[in-house]
Symmetry: C4
Subunit: 242 residues, 4 copies
């Protein structure tokens, strides 16, 4: 199987896992950079992630325009993905979603920092992007233009995750599995912080611990363990083999 | 298919989605205004929403009296729906339910205001109706007469949502999907507010943002995305087609 | 069908509903007074409620001794049921369970009082029984003798519900459905109180409202609606008919 | 059936129950000491617990080296199990997992003490092991060497449970059922403590009550009740019989 066929299958798996894990519901979108053309990325048409199949995947350019594969309707969120691939050559996969248990961190002053080892590779700082800062207080909060999306990418900077005020978060990664695994545990980290506020002050991961977690190969057996399990749970284990 | 047949099917879908999403349990009731006779509305007989079928739908007048289709028993909640259609010509669908995560807002002083974009179209203010204010402190809390129901409608005013103290909430909308989508996210907004109280002060949506969300067509593709997905999840995807 | 056969079927349904609703897990026990002999009651052998069938039901006397139907092992909790039927002629059904969201109320000073209408018939006061008060601080917390059980019944008094410190609660009722319905909503009332502590002071139901809720016939259509629905959800709808 | 065959089947059941109960997800590992050779223990290869079968079980020595049965890859967590069996001759089963609702206790100062009777046999004190104390603040938090594991065993001491800062917990027991039952209720105890902080000060179990709970035979009918029920729920009831 050629690379892009494999990537498309993996993108379908990622959609299904995220839906089954409750990281996305009817909304939420994950993309992968094209494996042989770095100026393109793959993203499903506007539809619920749980129903995405290989025929729903569209190829986009870094300007957010459709390059290949006709499927309707185009997702309004394509600009977010485009702007991040444009700004961050190291990023190979992007998730935009609204998992409930990070929303409170997007509208308050408490930073979403890692307290559990499994999200150590989230990095020590998660910036919050507030659309009102640059685009005023009368928007519909949606990142629906390249201009807005580039401002999100600017706020993301060199970090792995950025919160969108009142909307959700963006998770970037080195591989699709890298994004899915981190996204699966970030809400748990949020819930743990909320619980700790009842129990005293908490000890977050240290800078050294964060660096050590980031140094783990995201495709190592230990980090891949969830992928196959979750794919089977989500009912798409057949897509795992070539 | 004529309009009313389509509306009845959609009303069955709405019942099933709400049950599957946990917005209603054994209790809770959703109605739609009759598509060709504005003086009537459609509502299921008194039964658990998850089991509602097309034969269970009854046609009522704006006084809460049955006009067409025999099915027993009549729901005590029909007056709530009647009074709101009577008072609000712009309302085409009404939900009365007790999703758990809004109950605390109905018995405390903290207003249920939008902090997440997906409920921006809830409006900036959600009034609370306390049955004791007008009907004394010895009622069974149920809105079981037109007199009580009209007082609820008065409290709702021009808003989209009203909380009933100790009982639940009413969500109104321009379409059935409009009500179901908003109802699906209102409890999430409530949980997010509760979580924020642990993390600092929160930033709610601004008046301009609320207006921008309300300006989105409730039947646009972006707002309809949940309907089909949730209907299939709820096992009634067959009712989607004519 | 004679009365006792119907009661046994209903007791099986009650076990299955409570398991499916998560009110009981591997532990928890519900009984019904014998419909034609007030000195006896029916309770399953020691087993997980989700698996209880009609052949598992044992007839006990008000001393907790087995009177009829051999099934092993005898449940250690039979004394709780016996002592309550002995002390309270008005009680026709008893549940002993550990739903998680009432446990915090059993070990703190905050009373579990009704804030939502659906548990208005719980009554205005729920006493807490602490085994250490009478039996010292070196018990295993289990109500495993008639002496302990009679002390629980004394603490219950004329109330409908009593909390057992660190262990759970007992719910009494006029019918099996009366107990199941109330038990299904008491944890929700607990969660709502916990949420309200973040949002300000809460307004509980008034004495008059509680009296009005208690005056509703527990076998009226409005109060029976959950029973059939939950039985079908729990996979024992076939036991509903004679 | 010989003892080791039975133990292997029980270990598979334990894996499946823990996965079905949500105590483990893609990660988490449970072992049993070899029934006829106290210098060995049984543990699955590195894989998701929900998928473990009898062919996945490997025999290890107390140094963490594989002794018997080839299956890949070896779990990095084998050292944890080895060090505990080495240090604690009384321990016959060990679980290492990350149930979410104990994580907050691993990063704050509030001790995880028993407030509900069902975890009285957890003991009165649960120490917290912080990898940074001995191994510095630049580790990846994983207990991946015998040296680290022996330090965990030292911290566990004579207790039954030890928390690992930011990572999870270890539960030890006299039998597999003893570990699984306790692990099923420890998170509930954690959630109850968190809830109590909103309701006042809480009363934990007394030393005498803890001793009384520890004195209950972990293989008595009352303590075994969950095992069969949970095994059937987890879909591996067929493994219960010889």
């Amino acid at each position: 199987m050629n690379d892009v066929t494999r990537t498309i299958k993996d993108l379908v798996i990622a959609n299904r896992i995220l839906a089954h894990q409750g990281i996305v519901d009817a909304y939420g979108d994950i993309s992968a950079r094209h494996p042989s053309d770095r100026t393109r990325f793959l993203l499903a048409r506007a539809m619920s992630p749980a129903s995405v199949g290989t025929a729903d995947i569209i190829e986009f350019g870094l300007d957010g325009a459709r390059r290949r594969h006709a499927a309707d309707p185009l997702p309004g969120e394509r600009f977010i993905h485009a702007a991040i691939y444009e700004a961050r050559p190291d990023v190979m996969a992007v998730l935009h979603a609204s998992p409930e248990d990070i929303l409170a961190f997007s509208v308050t002053q408490t930073p979403l920092q890692p307290v559990i080892g499994s999200v150590g590779d989230m990095g020590g700082r998660v910036p919050v992007w507030d659309i009102a800062e640059k685009f005023g207080d009368a928007t519909d909060l949606r990142v629906s233009t390249m201009e807005r999306a580039r401002d999100v990418a600017r706020c993301l900077g060199r970090h792995r995750v950025v919160l969108l005020r009142g909307e959700g978060l963006i998770v970037t990664g080195r591989t699709l599995n890298d994004v899915v695994r981190l996204a699966a545990y970030v809400p748990r980290n949020g819930r743990t912080i909320v619980a700790t506020t009842r129990l005293g002050t908490f000890k977050p991961l240290s800078a050294g611990e964060i660096a050590a977690r980031l140094a783990i190969d995201p495709e190592s057996n230990a980090m891949r363990r969830g992928w196959e399990y979750w794919a089977r749970q989500a009912g798409c284990g057949d897509l795992l083999s070539d």
